[in-house]
Amino acid sequence: MSTINKSAAQITATILSNKRVGAYHQILLSIGDLASVCRPGNFVAIAVGGESSKMILRRAFAISRITHGSASGGAMELIVAPHGSGSRWLCAQPEGSDVDIVAPLGKAFGIPTSPVNALLVGGGYGSAPLFGLAEVLKARGCRVDMLLGASTGSKIYAPLEGKRSASTLKIYTEDGSMGERGRVTAPIPSLIEQGSIDVIYSCGPMSMLRAISDLTTGTDVVHQCAVEESMACGIGICMTCVLPVKGEDGTVSMLRSCIDGPVMDASTVAWDLVGKTPPAVTL
């Protein structure tokens, strides 16, 4: 057994329910004992398209929440945006059908050992892992505030859930159709200034993560972000999902976001190099 993804397993999971919620599908998978080893920030890789599929790669989805059921064991909730052919296929699977999953994958969010003030920021389906995270943080005595943003109201996932799981919830949409008009990053500078947050947990588009990162640079606020890079394998064997990350000596390495992430310390990510050819390695 390895030290990488050491709780991961490949299993057949049954779809317990599949509901449309706004622009997304909330999908509940029966995963038995695997539930006990899933942590907020982990993701699942799902085979799509069925037996004679031309889609040969798995699709990655953040584990939104874990419920520990009774007889049938635990369940895993996903929030899936029907984007391309793979996610649309998944959203079209009826209750009762089986899917082949590999989970839990990747690094989870780091949970503080003592109570802190945490701000959770989600963009679009990036809110997925935040609900589960909020529960864990609250159980540790943390104060949890939440900001959710999207282009439009239908892309804010389950605002009521957000309300339940966080102490405060603020919603931002770019078209103003829900919550305040504007970007989800808008209130962050003043929150930081007020000294009311210790840690930011973020999940959403790379541009959002980077913007938050810019705001926390030079402050004491720790920023853990869950990145999203195109992944072919999700388990560390293909090297497609890399991100430039600065080491302690300042040199940049291309780390695999599937196994060294998706949760990363945002201050170590070389945001300006993302998507660029990194400078040649110097020794």
């Binding site: 993804n5 490949q10 790669l57 064997i237 998507g275």
Partner: protein
């Protein structure tokens, strides 16, 4: 060695190196093994072929590095890796400690770099074979693919052979993106390759319809997966037909035992499984089981009987 194939001789050899089963990882599709160890025991499969390593650490190409295509994918990793020194100090000992058979894949930007790499590998104990990747399409200059020309292909292999002597079998990995793969194959065999790895990825490209630009950071990429399997079968068949005594490590789109059998009948002595592991982390042990069952069902009592059988069957055949 594996004993679960009772009665059936599943072992294979590539120019003197022996393996208990013919199913291996493919270079670049298993990193250095650690990541797959969570899903199966690395000593249970034929061998781990490690990701092509260069002399110096290397970042590779910019992202995005992959695009899914119908029954395939493009990658443009660009040989990201830790460099040979780190690799030999860390990855090889770890693999050997797990009881895995190790085939080290090397890649160079210059002919000289191959010799430098060979010099560093030569003293290392326990390596089953060296795979010399002279065909990676993801280097800066397409003209850099040594396996595109008989002379550069031969010189790269010659450099390695001179240093390795006879100690470790040398497997030359070729690209199918050439006018005549048999002439490249014979030139590297003449230069000292003991075996051939067929095939590397096929050069391809995807345009992103949102940006309307080439999708991959490196613009072009290598096509792999089931889409290219007929090309792999053809290349293996052609080369085995021209040089029946040169062992072939076959690869390209193998995702099931039936696919592996196809390549073996065409002439492969071993099978590397690459892209299939991305979609299924346990693909390799599954393929190993499936292939075994298919061979037994066809009345073979050893893997060896099946290697290149499609050539013999056609001589014996009715037609």
């Amino acid at each position: 060695m594996n004993t679960e194939y009772d009665g059936f001789d599943y072992s294979t050899s590539l120019a003197g190196a022996s393996f208990p089963s013919p199913v291996f990882t493919a270079s670049g599709c298993a990193s250095s093994g650690k990541e797959l160890a969570q899903f199966f025991d690395l000593s249970d499969i034929g061998a781990v072929v490690t990701k092509s390593v260069m002399n110096k650490p290397r970042h590779g190409r910019s992202t995005p590095r992959m695009a899914e295509t119908p029954s395939g994918m493009l990658n443009s990793i660009g040989l990201q890796g830790p460099g040979i020194d780190h690799f030999l100090a860390n990855d090889v000992p770890w693999l050997l400690s797990k009881g895995s058979r190790v085939i080290v894949s090397i890649a160079g930007e210059t002919i000289d770099e191959y010799s430098v790499l060979a010099r560093k590998i030569r003293p290392v104990q326990g390596i089953s074979a060296i795979e010399v990747n002279i065909s990676c399409p993801n280097v800066e200059n397409r003209g850099m693919v040594f396996a595109c020309q008989t002379d550069t292909a031969a010189r790269a292999i010659d450099g390695v052979r001179k240093i390795i002597g006879g100690e470790i079998p040398i497997i030359a990995k070729l690209t199918p993106d050439v006018t005549d793969i048999t002439s490249i194959a014979s030139s590297v065999v003449d230069a000292g390759a003991d075996a051939l790895a067929l095939i590397n990825t096929v050069l391809g490209m995807v345009i992103n319809l949102d940006t309307m630009r080439p999708h991959l950071g490196g613009k072009t990429g290598g096509l792999s997966g089931p889409a290219i399997r007929p090309v792999a079968v053809r290349a293996i068949y052609q080369v085995h037909s021209a040089m029946p005594n040169v062992p072939i490590l076959g690869m390209g789109g193998v995702a099931s035992g039936r696919d592996a059998l196809e390549l073996i009948l065409a002439g492969a002595s071993g099978i590397s499984v690459g892209t299939a592991s991305f979609g299924d982390p346990t693909a390799i042990p599954r393929i190993q089981r499936e292939l075994h069952a298919l061979l037994v069902a066809r009345g073979f009592t050893s893997l060896r009987q099946a290697i290149g059988y499609a050539h013999r069957a056609s001589e014996e055949g009715a037609q």
